[in-house]
Each structure stands twice: as structure tokens, then as C-alpha cells.
Symmetry: C2
Subunit: 335 residues, 2 copies
DNA sequence: GTGCGGCACGTGAACGTTCACGTAGTATCC
DNA sequence: GGATACTACGTGAACGTTCACGTGCCGCAC
């Protein structure tokens, strides 16, 4: 539960050891280690040399305690093996690093855990929290106390900050595109991660109804092989599908494979549209048309929210702390 | 440089605030917060309630200081947008999390920084360090003092622990496969990340010489578009290439694209072999033959080394702390 | 009623830094 | 030659916990 101290409490060298070895005081060692003024170059050099020899490294705990530093940003990710999340995480890490944060990453999907597990692990160790936490944003905020929490993709989120996506717009845009490509039999392949229907799934269903489209819906696990399997089954059940919208790009990759397996051409026999716009899409054959997120903008926005919440420039839970971003259609070969 | 404390040092609630509010002592609050014995259920409940109301969260600095905890593992990654690294990172995060570590990830490629930048950022904040640090393993160990450092892919590494790969074996296996596929004109597409020739490049050249193969070598940046561009140019220069070994799977994906652009079939006109065995390979068309690493084994080995070094079960810099792993050929469609 | 054990809770000390001072000694200025 | 300023260093206090004790109190057996 609580992170366990590892066994043999080997006494690390402290600042006093270095001070004693150099025949100076704590404060002089501090000055040497932190390149502060008020110390002669000779002494500085000698102390640094001695510190290196003793293997002295300042305790981040002691330093953090006295300085009250806010340096660690927690990043909770459902599944790093799904390329969307590294793409997102990499922009968060990049932006946050630029702003002086250290990013602590927790992947809670692997151990088939929930977001709450990640929160429990991260909360004691970080000064702010960002992540795809599913439905546990209120628990997260409770665990984090007054520290900033930014939750992605949970419109009902009860965290201090939130970023969600305009799926109604995305769904409408995708279906319009499929109609423009003269698709008659349109299907949606959903993820089964969140139960009977995802937020995306509901938006697609609504958009289809609005556009008078009779939509075939199928669910599969959020992975390429599962999607491949599901589309294979879908083709067997209902051969005539000629337009396919998919929950995300990874599953779309699997869908493309299944269509190829069945000897169908894309987009000739069936057009395919993915969602999120990860770089993978460009490497597929045919290249994947997708509703792309500006991933850099998402990452930047998340870190912005954290910084602003911390600075008190935003009121926690206020309108301004709840961002809504849009997917934009990127036309490539598959639709 | 040093992580800056963020501006307004808003006084967080401390254990004393909670104690005062509850009319009990520090220690009783500690007992309540950490579910320790020696406290009545009534008091525990009341204190927890009050703590939540006050937004009290224990300071990890104070706690770490007194407990001497080793909880944070630094993970230095050159470029999270290259899917190899998330694949590696995800196993490290998974395994390390299981063992009670928090993983602090630093991506030093984006800012066009070097591994040394990552080390400078991570060293003050972590209890151990793992990563692809390029050539700065000795600097890393110096910054980390006596704390464990495990460096990947730097055979000359001067860190406490190391994991490297048997590229001679990999190169031999790949070239054998291409020869078995009756390729006559074999080329190697190298990365230009490390200068004129990479460790992998040298191994491939040596293996080619050994096998009596006259090898065409070309370099490109470590990305799919750059590889695509380079292979396009290679085809223009020397059309007859019918066997292509590529630095890694991401670049191989770009190479496949270039061959398709040129109207060549794979593996008919040209066989392609990638390296590292990332999941992406299976999604490409044709599916990528590759020299695959057991990525889970690599991640597990890295964390094992850290734990053993920390426990003193391994001597830093000893033979046992230097692992060599092998790529194994995974035959798919492209060769 | 005395002794003893257990329960619920409190208190001094320690963890390793940095901050905000304080203090010698030396040079500077007129 | 005495006040002033600067340089190079030292010292008490504080940061917020947990650890290892210590202390009342109540009940119970004999």
C-alpha cells in the first residue's frame, strides 16, 4: 500500500559528512553544491570534489521539506501499449519538463487495475495530477486534497480542471464524410472498455439518428487484434458494410487488417475512418483517414490548466477550468 | 536549473492543523491516516473526516525524510514518439509499479537535449535511474552518487548496471535470412543519431563482411518520414536493391512506404527486415519481419538490476550487473 | 485493595536541508 | 585611524513527519 522503504537503511552521506570532511560548515557545503555566492572558488572546488568522492547527493526530501517545492506532476495513463497514450504522454512530458516539472507516469491498465489504483499510488508522491481517470475524478480530487487535478475525457468530472472533447462534432463530421463518399451501409466499431456504450458511441449513435443513418454498432476490446476479430465477424454477419467508423486509430488499424483479410479493398469496397489522429495512421496501408486531435494542444492545455490552478489564476471547478477541444478531419487514403 | 518552487507559498494544512481541529495529538492523526492500531474507531473516523475537510494531505517530503524511503525510479527516454520507447517504457512502468516504485519519466529527445539533460533533471528527484542514456553513463553515475544506475545499449557503460544487445548475432541472423530469401543486392538503412555509424551499423557491416556480402549502407534520421525519404533516394540511386535491413521497426515502416511509393512489391521485389519487434510491425501491410526483442524481458531485467543493486546482491559494475540480450527473428510477411 | 495488563493517547527526538541571520577578518576611503 | 563595506564563512531555527517511548485510565483476577 504505502510505498515501502527498501530494507537495509544504508546511511547515505549527508551534508554534515561532507562538511566534516572539508572542515567547513553545512552552509558552506550548501553554497558549494548549489553554486551560490559567498564562497571562494577554492573552497567551492574542494567541497565539490569531496562530495563526489563521498558519493554525497542531497536529499530531495530534506530539500523539498524546507523549500516547499512543487515539482512532481503525476500522469495517469490507462494503457501505454495503446499508441494514443504515449503520443499524449510525450507532449505532456515535453511541455511539463519545459516548465520545470518532473513527470511521474503511472499505467493502470496493465495490471487490469482501475484509475483509482493509479491515484492511490500517485497521490502521495505528486503535487498535481493529470490523466485519463475514467469515472473516478471525484475520488481523485478527494485523494489530492487542494492540489490541482486535471481529468481528461470525463465531462461529468468533479476535479478542479478538465479537458473533454466535442464528440458530437466529431461524429457528425465523420458520418458526413462517409455519406459524401456514398457509403450506404455504415457501421461503428466501438470500444467495450466502458461498458455497453462509450461516450463516443453515444455521440455517434445520436449523430447517426440525426442524419437518418441506420447504424450497425459492434463492440470490441480496445486493441488491434480484438478489432480485427470483431470486424471479421461483422463482415461474416453483414457483408454489405461499405463505411466504417472506428472508436480510435489503433482499432481502425485492426479493422483495416480484417478488411484486407476478407479481400476487400479500402476505400473501394469499404471506407474506414479512425479517431484521434495518432502518427501510426500515416504508416498504414492504406493511410488512415481520421478525426485528428491536435495532440500537442491537448498536452499543452493540460499542463496550462495545472499551472493556472496552482497559481490561483483559475478557480477550481470553474467554467474556465473545463476545456472542450475538437477533433478535425484529416483526409488520407482510407476514406 | 534547480526545480523552482512555485510562487505563492500557500500554507498547506499540516498534521498539526488536523490535530488541533480534532483536539488530539500529531501521533493520533498519524495513526488515523495510516490505519495504524492503537486508536479507537470513533476517533479514527472523526480525524479522517476532519482531514478530508481541511484538504490535508501528508507531505511526502517529511514522510520520506523520516522513513528514508526509496520510492522513485527515474526513466530516461530519448524519444517517446518513437514507438519502441513507449513499448519499453510501458514494461518498465508495469514491472516497477508492481515492485512499489513510482516511475519518473523524462524524454530528452524532444528538446533536442542530450541524455545529460535528463540526468540533470532526474538525479535530484529519484532513488535510482534506468534509461537509454547514450554515451553519458559515467556522468550519470557521477550525478547519482551511490544510487543504482542501469544503462541500456551502452556496452562501454561505466554505470553500476547495464543491459546491452548482441548485435553481432542479430546482424548475422538478419543477413542469413535475406540470403536464404535469395536476395542479391542487400542494403542496410542506418540511423544517423549517433554519427557516422551506429553500434548496430558496425555490427551489420562486420556480419556482411564475414558473409561475403557487399553491403550498401545509407543513413537517415530515426523517424518514418526520414526513412521513407532515404529509401526513395536509395531506389533512385541504386534501383536493384532486393533485400533491405533497417535500423529499427519505425524506420522499416517508412521503408515499406517508400517501396510501395516506387511501385515495388514486398517481399517480391524487395525483402525488408526491421529490428526490435515493436507491436507496430504487425499492423503494417505487409506485416513486418523483424529481429524482435522480448520487450517484457528487457523491462523486467532492468528493474531486476535496480532492485538487486539496491539490495546489495550485485556489486556495482560487476560482470553480473552487465546483461547481454538477444534479438530473435520473427518471420512475418516482409521477408 | 493491590497488582497487572491492555487500550487510547501524548511527547521528545530525529530525519537532512535551507533560510535568515550573525561574525570574524580584510580591504577601502577620506 | 576610524568608520564603512565587503568577503568568506558559521549558527539557530524551521520545514512536517514518524519512531520510540511514556502516561493515564479502566477492568479484572486474586
Amino acid at each position: 500500500m504505502t510505498p515501502s522503504a527498501r530494507e537495509p537503511r544504508i546511511r547515505r552521506a549527508t551534508i554534515l559528512d561532507v562538511a566534516a570532511a572539508a572542515g567547513v560548515s553545512r552552509q558552506t557545503v550548501t553554497r558549494a553544491m548549489n553554486d551560490m555566492p559567498g564562497i571562494s572558488p577554492t573552497t567551492r572546488e574542494r567541497v565539490q570534489q569531496l562530495a563526489a568522492e563521498l558519493g554525497y547527493t542531497p536529499s530531495r526530501f530534506a530539500k523539498g521539506l524546507v523549500q516547499g517545492a512543487r515539482v512532481s506532476l503525476g500522469l495517469a495513463i490507462p494503457d501505454l501499449t495503446n499508441p494514443y497514450f504515449p503520443a499524449f504522454a510525450s507532449t505532456v512530458v515535453e511541455v511539463a519538463t519545459q516548465r520545470g516539472w518532473n513527470v511521474v507516469v503511472d499505467d493502470f491498465g496493465h495490471g487490469s487495475g482501475s484509475g483509482l489504483d493509479a491515484v492511490n499510488r500517485l497521490a502521495p508522491q505528486v503535487d498535481a495530477l493529470v490523466g485519463y481517470l475514467g469515472a473516478c475524478s471525484s475520488d481523485a480530487q478527494a485523494m489530492m486534497g487542494r492540489r490541482p487535478v486535471v481529468v481528461l475525457d470525463d465531462p461529468s468530472g468533479h476535479a478542479a480542471g478538465g479537458i473533454s472533447f466535442d464528440y458530437a462534432y466529431a461524429a457528425r463530421t465523420a458520418l458526413e464524410r462517409l455519406q459524401a463518399a456514398h457509403c450506404r451501409e455504415i457501421a461503428y466499431l466501438d470500444s467495450n472498455q466502458e461498458g455497453p456504450a462509450t461516450t463516443r458511441g453515444l455521440a455517434v449513435a445520436a449523430a447517426a439518428k440525426e442524419a437518418g443513418i441506420e447504424l450497425t454498432v459492434r463492440q470490441a476490446a480496445d486493441s488491434a487484434p480484438a478489432a480485427r476479430q470483431a470486424v471479421r465477424a461483422m463482415i461474416e454477419d453483414r457483408g454489405g458494410i461499405d463505411g466504417l467508423l472506428v472508436f480510435n486509430d489503433l482499432m481502425a488499424a485492426g479493422a483495416l487488417k480484417a478488411l484486407q483479410d476478407a479481400g476487400k479493398t479500402v476505400p473501394g469496397d469499404c471506407a474506414v475512418i479512425g479517431m484521434d489522429g495518432i502518427p501510426l495512421g500515416e504508416l498504414l496501408t492504406p493511410e488512415l483517414t481520421t478525426l485528428a486531435l491536435d495532440l500537442r494542444a491537448v498536452g499543452r492545455a493540460a499542463v496550462d490548466l495545472v499551472d493556472n490552478l496552482l497559481a490561483g489564476a483559475l478557480e477550481a471547478g470553474s467554467e474556465d477550468a473545463m476545456l472542450v477541444l475538437r477533433h478535425e478531419l484529416v483526409l488520407r487514403q482510407s476514406a
